[in-house]
Amino acid sequence: MLLHEKTAIITGTNRGIGLATLEAFAANGAKVYAHARRETPDFLALLDDISRMYGTEIWPVCFDLTDYEAMKQKMREIAASKHQIDILVNNAGITADDTAFLMTPVEKMKTVFDVNFFAQMALTQYAARMMTRNKSVSKSIVNVASIAGIDGEAQIEYSASKAALIGATKKLAIELNDYNIRVNAVAPGVTDTDMARAMDESFIRRATEKTVMKRKAQTGEISGAILFLASELSSFMTGQVLRVDGGM
């Protein structure tokens, strides 16, 4: 059990990579604050199922990431619980319409940045402060970026917001090392999620054909890399971006 006695916060756990990460963490003994935008009966039932399946505690944390007041309130509740936070996975994100840079209004870019970057930073500020309280225990932050943030082969706002997250990963790795917090990122290639299914099919085909494996990743193949970076298996890694892209 790679995460025995660890407590994690994971954003965007209702589907896709976030859900796979929640399952991987629960299977490895972590207690998890599972974030989703909305607290629906389906989401609560899902958490209950995973909790019972793996015999670990999972608590729902539901708020819109761009609602900073709600974020503050929820993070205060977590702080008041006195659970030591060991791991943060910044997974939640949005994509954008497939438009050319010259046809993309700045306001649309800001909307994507609000979720994919600024909200992650605000949440990380709260979580990192909770993580600083016990410097003797190693902590880990994992940011879910994208190969688009490195290669730029997606919409401008998506690629740039993920590039910003990668930049932040490197900066935070330096700054938070004083508190025994490692900060790394995964950069998934095209992954079989609702987000990818909503994208232009020809774009997905072109992107997968460029890879050595010539297929999309399954969510469990990305969550495995997140689990690795969250665990002590990667104890000498910080500030790194791990490509999980089928070979490019």
Partner: protein, 63 residues
């Protein structure tokens, strides 16, 4: 610090121990002690003993 008067005159970065790392350690200690989670703006504004006392009042911390 040797007495209360000296503490009351303390300002951020005026002494070696109250640098950015010391500041975050102080914030963590206050949050733990009083069971609060400070806003980021308040952490930035917590620039002296005096400012800190005012900020803590917002969180219903009584002295």
């Amino acid at each position: 610090m040797t007495d209360g008067t000296e503490a009351e005159s303390l300002k951020y970065q005026a002494i070696q121990e109250w640098d950015s790392v010391g500041h975050m350690a102080l914030m963590a200690l206050l949050e733990d002690e009083f069971g609060i989670l400070l806003d980021t703006d308040d952490i930035i504004d917590f620039s002296s003993y005096e400012a800190g006392m005012e900020i803590l009042k917002k969180y219903d911390v009584a002295f």
